[in-house]
């Protein structure tokens, strides 16, 4: 019951790809062992490890050989196999195929008759044999977002060149070969700190062995060590704390084999630069953790995570401080230079900045944004929301001007933010500055939406303009392909509209956004306008709404029911979906849903068989007590539901609809709809049609998944 170790030694694997690759390799090894029946009864214990230079999987105790298996193979029927008691060529051929003498063949009966059969025993293969056959394919199949080839004349790809492979099973090398590398039992420690190659004789000792060579194979352990070291280094500054940053932590965990931390400092005078700029330089460009003082303000220190044991001479700290000083000096130089030309003076410069190659410049985009946001803000007025129209227009005009600044050219991730900071410095109103600052929000699922209505309008207009242009050119996201992040931008619109409860319908918004391109050059490249555009937009946003509602924890059938009753008004869909979710657990609602499904099915059947539906129907033509009753109660409930719906009191409205349960149940108990008598049938169908029409404006109940009765 040996242990197995596979280690792929590779030139530095990109930090962002390491975790996925480690998990994939271990899953592949596990699947292989299961598939090839090498699992012992006590189950599998798998550990996976990764450093920038290795991906490893250790499997504790696998079977050293597969169990022998026996299998019965069916041959020709006995009738064909024997003639006059002697085996025919068919019997001989079968015997040859299974490798047995004809005399060793058995006879079995099944419903079709009597057949020849052979019991074959397959000897289980040794684990070494199995692993060496299948592992190369598993290694080759690991998915990489970007891979390369490196051997002359060879086509195998991997993320970076593989330099060694260790494959050991119970102290024995498994002869695996991939990319010209024959597996052995030799691994390598830390690039600088280790003393020469190492022999791995025992998989169980793998991590201990590597630790002796200054490599911590387990990324969780590295993370723990880095956290401890960050704490320890920060302690030397009184009252200070390092800023938690999950993404950065994961990055440095995956950039190091033997991490340690140094605390560095920078000149206080740099603290006069905006914190956003300083943190971006430290985090995104230098992979440093920021340090804050007791009040939460940025402190003039940083923490660098090293792939080294120590910094005895302080050279590393000194070097990092020097680099940061240069970066901060640059930032300040850019800040000062940029101030010489205010944002207002940069509008014309946008003519030379490409928005998208076929959609023209940012100058043209800014003009469209002024126009589109100007169309949107009166709509907010109409429902009594106070918007500073002048601020929206000014923010839209200046929104993209920061793309011409040195600071944004250097730190592109600060686009918008820099514009907002400059707007403040240049004495624009707070509303203008905030709107510019927030225009790209939300940039991710976790990011906040714009804080102000002005910012929300600008952000929505910007995203709608991009989506409209792209869709009109037919550049619609499909599958995993979404190079312009249109889904993220649409998610942003949905979240912002919902968050600020804005009365902006998708069809109106996207229709206006498309109109903004009229009269420009881009329109020549448009392949999708009118109905096709509207349809594509509707489908696209419907998916985004679905995603948004599901993210809020709503069940998919609730989401479908709400969307089926209308998917244009985001705020309304959200309210309706939550109302449905609230009443969904009640027994009445469940029953009503079942009934509506039944009504829809009957109506569908009627339409398929071309049966007439009386519209409007004449209640006087109804015969049974139960249907008369339903017909009498429904209009009253319908008008109540309508007035509640108009007040957006959807939950109350749905509870009203539930009150129809007794008459509806009685109807289905007592009344047969599809009767022979044409007039009566048409009347009853008319009644059902009326119910479906009147009670589907909040949600399509037939979408609700009910228990089968």
């Amino acid at each position: 019951m040996p242990d197995f170790l596979l280690e792929i030694g590779c030139e530095e694997i990109p930090a962002r790809m390491l975790d996925d690759a480690r998990e994939e390799l271990s899953r592949r090894v596990k699947d292989l062992i299961v598939r090839e029946a090498l699992v012992l009864e006590e189950g599998l214990v798998i550990e996976s490890f990764s450093t920038p230079r290795r991906l490893s999987t250790v499997v504790r105790k696998i079977a050293s050989t597969q169990a022998d298996t026996t299998e019965q193979v069916l041959g020709p029927s006995v009738k064909i196999a024997y003639k006059d008691g002697k085996p025919t060529p068919a019997a001989e051929a079968f015997a040859k195929k299974v490798g047995l003498d004809v005399s060793k063949l058995e006879k079995v009966s099944n419903p079709k008759g009597e057949y020849l059969a052979a019991t074959i025993t397959r000897k289980g293969r040794g684990a070494v044999d199995v692993l060496s056959e299948f592992l190369p394919k598993e290694i080759a199949s690991i998915y990489w977002p970007k891979s390369m080839y490196w051997r002359p004349g060879k086509t195998e790809r991997f993320v970076r060149p593989i330099r060694w492979i260790v494959a050991v099973l119970g102290g024995q090398v498994v002869p695996v070969e991939f990319a010209g590398i024959k597996a052995g039992e030799t691994t390598h420690g830390h690039r600088i700190l280790a003393h020469g190659p190492l022999k791995v004789s025992d998989a169980a000792q793998y991590t201990v062995l590597l630790e002796g060579a200054s490599v911590i194979a387990d990324s969780k352990v590295r993370e723990h060590r880095i956290r401890k070291a960050l704490d320890a280094e920060t302690r030397s500054v009184s009252g200070a704390r390092w800023r938690e940053d999950a993404d950065l932590l994961q990055t440095v965990v995956n950039l190091t084999e033997w991490p340690s931390v140094v605390l560095g400092s920078f000149d206080r005078q740099f603290l006069s630069l905006p914190e956003e700029v300083l943190v971006t330089v430290m985090r995104d460009h230098q992979k440093y953790f920021a340090v804050e003082d007791a009040s939460g303000k940025l402190a003039p220190h940083f923490l660098a995570v090293l792939n080294m044991d120590a910094d005895a001479d302080g050279l590393i700290r000194h070097g990092n401080e020097r680099v940061l000083r240069a970066r901060f000096n640059d930032a300040r130089f850019f800040w000062d230079t940029d101030q010489k030309l205010p944002l207002v003076g940069r509008v014309e410069m946008l003519r030379a900045v490409t928005f998208q190659k076929d959609l023209g410049s940012y100058f043209a985009k800014a003009e469209r944004l002024v126009h589109l946001s100007g169309e949107l803000s009166p709509i907010l007025d109409s429902v009594g929301r106070k918007v500073d129209h002048a601020a929206v227009a000014e923010a839209a005009r200046l929104a993209k001007t920061d793309l011409t600044t040195e600071l944004v050219k250097e730190f592109t991730e600060l686009q918008g933010i820099v514009g907002g900071l400059y707007a403040t410095a240049q004495k624009h109103s707070q509303a203008v500055a905030d709107a510019i600052y927030d225009q790209y929000r939300p940039e991710s699922m976790d990011d906040a939406i714009p804080r102000t209505l002005e910012g929300a309008l600008l952000s929505i207009a910007d995203k709608a303009d991009t989506i409209a242009g792209m869709f009109a050119m037919g550049l619609v996201p499909s599958g995993s392909k979404d190079p312009f992040a249109l889904r993220r931008q649409a998610n942003g619109i949905v979240r912002t509209v919902a968050g600020h409860k804005l009365p902006l319908k998708i069809s109106m918004l996207m229709g206006q956004a498309l109109k903004g391109y009229a009269g420009g050059d881009a329109i020549k490249k448009f392949s999708q306008q009118g109905e096709a555009y509207a349809k594509a937009i509707q489908g696209f946003f419907r998916e985004r709404l679905e995603f948004f509602l599901r993210e809020q924890g709503l069940a998919y059938d609730v989401v479908n029911a709400a969307l089926a009753a209308g998917d244009d008004d985001i705020v309304d869909v959200v309210a309706r979906a939550h109302a449905v979710a609230a009443v969904r657990p009640s027994a009445d609602f469940e029953s009503i849903s079942t009934s509506f499904k039944r009504m829809k099915n009957i109506l569908l059947q009627a339409s398929e068989t071309k049966k007439r539906v009386a519209d409007p129907y004449d209640p006087a033509s109804l015969k049974e007590e139960a249907e008369k009753n339903l017909a009498a109660q429904a209009p009253e409930v319908a008008s109540l539901v309508k007035s509640l719906g108009a007040k957006k009191e959807y939950e109350n409205a749905l509870r009203e609809i539930s009150r129809l349960r007794p008459p509806i149940d009685a109807f289905f108990d007592k009344v047969m709809v599809m009767v022979e008598e044409e007039d009566l049938r048409a009347t009853r169908l008319g009644l059902l049609q009326m119910l479906v029409n009147d009670f589907s404006s909040i949600a399509d109940f037939s979408e609700i998944v009910t228990e089968k009765k």
């Binding site: 080839y149 002359p152 690039r191 020097r322």
Partner: protein
């Protein structure tokens, strides 16, 4: 004051050249036409094509007009120097060789923090891309390490490793100075040094002025069109020649594709000047890049074909 124990700029160059010469590299001289990066020198762009192994190292002054800062910015230059190493094909220990080269210029890696961080390189204008890292030394990017995968739109076989050392920043790091202009370029026996400022400041200032203020936009466009037309005409003629059954091998072999490549480099530099002048509109930009790319890709294809012609005679070095 620069650290007096650290190598001067020219000592750094000499040590790196000596190191790579000892590993079989041809020591080339800088290419004598303006380029934006060492990659554009034919010693890289053309040599990485085709099957012949090659190793070369050279310093390449690289001009990027838009990066000019009138000599005011301590970290940014209009023209910086790269030491470019091409190893075709890359030996298996190419990373270790690189680390040895750092040791050779006096960096004790046990006292520093070194990381290979993902950084892939792409030049749409050259139809070239590669995969690799930026090498970070104590938080400073000192080298771009790239495994070329494609060049001139052609899949490479074998691939090449390209090591690009940023000479000014590496020297500033070693000498521990905060401004490139403080770098000691050379030091005499008495310890007197000549600074980078003395050698290069005027150049940075005046070329920034030229590129941003004086370069004649109309004429630059005209030059660009002339060079482009001549380059394209040569390519067309080679095209005709290569499909001409009566054309002899010698005639094909002597055809001046290298001359055409020089013209292509001129186009690229003129484009950069026009860009720095803000003279290229959005719509023009995409178009001009595509035109230059078309020349580069056409040249790469023609060059590979021409090498094959010569190969059959066994006359290629």
């Amino acid at each position: 004051m620069p650290k007096s124990t650290a190598p001067t700029l020219q000592e750094l160059i000499l040590r790196l050249q000596q190191f790579w010469a000892a590993r079989g590299c041809v020591l080339q001289q800088p290419y004598d036409i303006e380029v934006g990066a060492g990659t554009m020198s034919p010693e890289t762009f053309l040599r990485v094509l085709g099957p012949q192994p090659y190793r070369v190292a050279y310093v390449q002054p690289s001009r990027r007009p838009a990066d000019g800062r009138y000599g005011d910015n301590p970290n940014r230059l209009y023209k910086h120097m790269q030491l470019q190493v091409i190893l075709k094909p890359p030996p298996e220990n190419v990373q270790e060789l690189y680390l040895e080269s750092l040791a050779a210029v006096g960096i004790d890696l046990r006292k520093h923090d070194l990381k290979f961080e993902e950084d892939n390189w792409e030049s749409p204008t050259l139809g070239a891309w590669g995969i690799g890292w930026q090498v970070m030394l104590d938080g400073l990017e000192v080298t771009q390490f790239t495994y070329f995968q494609q060049c001139g739109g052609i899949d490479l076989d074998p691939i090449s490793a390209e090591l690009t050392y940023g000479l000014e920043r590496l020297t500033a790091f070693l000498q521990d100075v905060d401004s490139i202009y403080e770098i000691a370029w050379v030091r005499d026996a008495e310890g007197q040094s000549v600074s980078y400022n003395t050698v290069r400041h005027q150049d940075e200032l005046q070329l920034s002025v030229y590129n941003f203020e004086f370069a004649d936009v109309q004429k630059a466009w005209k030059h660009l069109e002339l060079y482009e037309a001549e380059c394209q005409a040569l390519l067309d003629r080679y095209q005709a020649l290569s499909s001409d059954k009566n054309a002899g091998e010698a005639e094909k072999k002597r055809f001046p594709l290298l001359g055409a490549y020089d013209l292509c480099l001129k186009c690229s530099h003129l484009f950069n000047i026009l860009d720095a002048r803000g003279a290229i509109s959005v719509t023009e930009r995409v178009g001009v890049i595509a035109r230059i790319r078309q020349l580069a890709v056409g040249l790469a294809k023609a060059y590979v074909a021409q090498q094959t012609v010569a190969d059959q005679k066994g006359q290629v070095a």
